[in-house]
């Protein structure tokens, strides 16, 4: 056990205390043993403690163990992936990976002390600017947990702003996001109504117009949506009356696609994993969150603002904190505290590297490759797209056999063939995502593999 006779601590590479340190410190506080440090805990609680039965491991042993556990998974380096549905296999520039290991950034916390945190506060300010530029909005926060909870928080914010309790949710929104939204709506006692989609895979605007009433706080939607289809945002804002238009958008698509802000959106959110963050089995992700200026005092999350010191030097500081839980407590706009800061920093680096032209080129490159693959699949296999609306990076195809029958055989050929939509209620549909990492040879090879696995059934 940790305490030996005389109360010395076992040394660990993470705990610097020597037995002499412990002895001197105990003497300074007037205690006999380390056990005395815990004399305020009721005896019966201490007596009930049961150890985990875990021996310590050295770094070498830990690395061996974790490598072994890692090897029980698929090795992504050995596969060409077409998996998407919210998390995508984009390239992470070396500069981004490098700065993720700069300890001045990753070992700091929320920049409560602005003067010692100008690094964090500056990139937060840059990040907010970039998110606004992408989405066409006025203000952005420094991140939410992920795309799903960001859309749910948008609903809570719209409820706070409008005082209305009914929300329309497009059924074309990612099913996981909708599940998160349902949880948050139930928590806040809000009522949800589903907006159906048409055979293009786009939400039914007529339904929106018919179902908006005095109680409608807003519409929650996503573009491109779960099926990869780009929604048509025209006239939606007008149809909502006083309700707010809340849109989850793909940030890279916004390099070439008109931003929700241009269609009058009130709150724009999104999943920012694609901006320089690894897929990491679905977390950490990055929730983007932006809104119009008039609503900024109801926005959740941290915000960095520009100000000056007594000498007029420009600096950055967390601001509008009267919205936040550590000041406003139960009346806060949200309970969020720790967010996804480091992922937002990755996004800042990613967008900074690409720059104005680079983002457009990246978006165009992805769209070209995705459309190339969709064309080839349709032309050579005769598999039509399940939903015919316009798309950016991802599309669903109708498969002649259930995807679960062909996916394992594609894997044998080195392909992660996409997401089977059957568990999401769409049998014989395969959702295929394409990123800039896919080469023509891989796309062509995938088409050949699809032919083989369907021919050889």
């Amino acid at each position: 056990m940790g305490t030996r006779e005389g109360g010395s601590l076992r040394r660990s590479e993470f705990i610097p205390h020597t037995p002499q340190d412990v002895e001197e410190m105990l003497r300074a506080v007037g205690l006999q043993s380390v056990d005395d440090l815990f004399q305020d805990i009721p005896r019966e609680i201490l007596d009930r403690y049961e150890p985990l039965g875990l021996d310590p491991l050295s770094e070498l042993e830990a690395k061996r163990l974790l490598t072994q556990i890692a090897e029980e998974n698929l090795d992504p380096r050995r596969f060409v992936s077409f998996l998407g549905a919210g998390v995508y296999d984009h390239d992470i520039p070396s500069v981004v990976s490098y700065f993720m290991t700069r300890s001045e950034f990753f070992t700091s916390y929320t920049p409560y002390q602005a003067e010692a945190s100008q690094g964090t506060l500056t990139w937060m300010f840059e990040y907010q600017t970039m998110v606004c530029e992408l989405t066409g909005m006025d203000v952005a926060n420094a991140s939410m947990y992920d795309g799903g909870s960001a859309l749910a928080e948008a609903m809570l914010m719209a409820h706070n702003l409008t005082g209305r309790r009914k929300f329309l949710v497009a059924e074309s929104v990612h099913p996981h996001y909708r599940r998160v939204i349902r949880t948050y709506a139930w928590a806040a006692d809000l009522e949800l109504a589903s907006v159906p989609y048409d055979d293009q895979g786009q939400l039914d605007k007529g339904f929106v117009a018919e179902n908006v009433d005095e109680e409608t706080g807003g519409l929650l939607m996503q573009t491109p949506n779960f099926f990869g289809v780009l929604e048509d945002l025209r006239n939606l804002k007008d149809a909502l009356g006083k309700g707010l238009l809340c849109v989850s958008a793909h940030p890279i698509a916004l390099g070439i696609v008109k931003p929700p802000g241009a269609f009058g959106a009130d709150i724009v959110v999104g999943e920012g994993q694609v901006l320089g963050n690894p897929s990491a089995f679905g977390g950490p992700l990055l929730g983007l969150f932006a809104c119009r200026k008039e609503h900024m005092r109801r926005m959740p999350g941290r915000i960095s603002g520009r100000t000056t010191d007594a000498q007029g030097r420009v600096g950055y500081i967390m601001t509008l904190q009267a919205r936040e839980q550590h000041i406003r407590r139960a009346k806060a706009t949200s309970n969020i505290c720790t967010n996804q800061a480091l992922c937002a920093f990755a996004a800042t680096l990613f967008l900074g590297l690409l720059g104005k032209r680079g983002l457009r080129e990246l978006a165009a490159l992805i769209a070209q490759k995705a459309h190339y693959l969709a064309r080839r699949i349709e032309e050579e296999l005769g598999w039509p797209r399940r939903w015919k609306g316009p798309f950016f990076n991802e599309f669903a195809v109708e498969t002649p056999v259930p995807p679960r029958e062909i996916l394992p055989r594609l894997r044998e050929r080195g392909f992660l063939g996409g997401v089977d939509l059957e568990p999401f209620g769409h049998p014989n549909a395969l959702l295929i995502a394409v990123t800039e990492r896919r080469t023509r040879a891989e796309l062509d090879g995938f088409v050949e593999a699809l032919k083989e696995v369907t021919r050889s059934r």
Binding site: L46, S58, L65, I69, W186, F345, G355, Q368
Partner: protein, 493 residues
């Protein structure tokens, strides 16, 4: 500390010139079509409408962020005694293993059979955390501590809804020393928050607690040790009293570092515990995240946990179980912050039982040692054995000196300031948590700095009022920032 030569306020938008770029992409290798043939023109963004992103070369960008790193204080820079945040050393081995490609580049929908190691790690981490909590079920889905609190509140709500008691169970009790996230979490879960005052010992006032105990109580949220760093000595009685009226007891795990390896919240009579993997279990704070906030619960609340739950099948393989008909649903797009879980798991495995116990011992020893050195110099409103942290007051040094001045002056001495103005029950609070990874020499140096500042406060208070002096910018005007908000780069034209 080295402060850079960065021009104050400079952003990436101030650098570069049109035509520069930090990254070159491959040329399209597929047959391309005009974009208008792919995407309807009315949806396309023209070049004039393109996001105004910076146009910088790679070296400009690298230099800019290297400069910024030099004006940012992290745990690796020096002592970071931010109370209730547990700014301990972040082991590098954690970073290395979390970046193994099979973890870092795993796709959340790649399927169970290709993710057995990942699911095993999640399952084993869950089992370890359950043992640490002394509770029987767990979810790893919440992405942060406050997210975990929210889930904890929803579990209570779901339970009472399922038992037909929801309309009357509307109150959540909270000590007035609670973290701000607690009342916010209870509120967004639809509960009414009732504050219970602390008594002269700095603990929950039992008499006042009893006044509020009735059938309308859904639960109580407790932080143990509390935000004063004091162990709630009446904890067993508190949990018993709340259980007697049918309420649940929630344990905010922010301060768990202080009892690791010695006491389990479950043995306090607690029903729900959230963990902060980024505090107790050494994962980096990342400038404000990502964290991870798993929630362990008692048997009665297990049916309501978020889906999916990681299970071990009889044959030893692992699965994601969605079959919880009474589940509260999802709170995350996928399964939570897996990357953070890898780090926490590695840390716990490296520590083992001995190490866990050594953590709380050194953390509590460090806090008490520093408290002893400072208590004659600063006001110590609650002078008793503390756990991992303690709270001083900045009052009484000089009529014009406030806690913020002391905090800013500490930066000049090379230390990150403690948490300030919290807990709210101590005026001009300085909440100090050294953590176990700080050395005795560092504590001595920190105590010296505090003492010098106390002297300066009396002799030359203006040195404090004008602090910090050594940073890239002096004290920033927070009032101006809030009154005339500039939240994005002011582009010209």
């Amino acid at each position: 500390m080295t402060w850079g030569e960065l021009e104050p306020g400079r952003t990436l938008f101030d650098l570069g010139r049109p035509g520069r770029r930090g990254l070159r992409l491959p040329e399209p290798d597929v047959d391309t079509r005009p974009l208008e043939e792919l995407i309807p023109e009315e949806l396309l963004r023209s070049e004039e409408e393109a996001p105004r992103l910076p146009e910088v070369s790679q070296i400009e960008l690298v230099r800019h962020y290297t400069d910024l790193s030099l004006v940012n204080y992290g745990v690796d820079t020096g002592v970071y005694p931010l109370g209730s945040c547990t700014m301990k050393y972040n082991p590098r081995v954690n970073e290395e293993v979390a970046r193994l490609p099979q973890f870092a580049h795993a796709h959340p929908l790649q399927g169970e059979e290709l993710s057995q190691g990942i699911l095993r790690l999640m399952y084993e981490l869950g089992e370890l955390l359950k043992k640490i909590a002394g509770l029987s079920a767990i979810t790893l889905q919440p992405a942060a501590g406050a997210h975990g609190e929210f889930v904890g509140m929803l579990l209570i709500k779901r339970y009472f809804e399922d038992h037909g008691e929801l309309p009357k169970r509307r109150k959540i009790l909270l000590p007035d020393s609670a973290h701000g996230t607690n009342p916010a979490s209870a509120h967004i879960a639809g509960f009414e928050v009732v504050e219970i005052p602390s008594d002269e010992r700095g603990m929950v006032d039992l008499r006042k607690l009893k006044e509020h105990l009735d059938g309308s109580v859904a639960g109580i949220m407790l932080t143990v040790p509390n935000t004063l760093g004091i162990f709630e000595e009446d904890i067993l009685q508190i949990t018993k009293l709340v259980h007697e009226v049918g309420g649940f007891c929630y344990f905010d795990g922010a301060n768990l570092n202080s009892i690791l390896g010695r006491a389990r919240p479950g043995d306090f009579g607690v029903d729900i515990v959230h963990f902060n993997l980024h505090k107790t279990f050494s994962t980096p704070h990342g400038g404000g995240g990502p964290g991870s906030g798993p929630v362990a619960v008692c048997e009665a609340l297990a049916p309501y946990l978020p889906v999916p739950i990681v299970r071990r099948r009889d044959d030893g393989s692992f699965s994601l179980d969605y079959d919880l008909p009474k589940s509260l649903g999802r709170v995350h797009s996928f399964y939570g912050n897996f990357g953070v879980m890898v780090r926490a798991y590695t840390y716990i495995r490296m520590l083992g039982d001995e190490g866990l116990r050594a953590v709380s011992e050194a953390a509590v020893l460090n806090a008490n040692y520093l408290k002893e050195k400072l208590k004659g110099v600063y006001r110590l409103p609650y002078d008793r054995l503390c756990k991992h942290e303690f709270v001083l007051s900045g009052k009484g040094l000089h009529p014009e000196v406030r806690t913020v001045d002391i905090a800013k002056r500490l930066i000049d001495y090379g230390f990150h300031p403690p948490t300030v103005y919290f807990p709210l029950i101590v005026p001009e609070a300085l909440m100090i948590e050294p953590t176990e990874t700080v050395m005795k020499e560092e504590l001595d140096a920190l105590a010296d700095a505090f003492s010098k500042i106390a002297e300066e406060a009396k002799e030359s208070p203006e040195v404090l009022k004008e602090a910090p002096h050594t940073t890239i910018v002096g004290r920033l005007d927070d009032v101006k920032a809030a009154r005339q908000p500039v939240l994005t780069y002011p582009f010209e034209g």
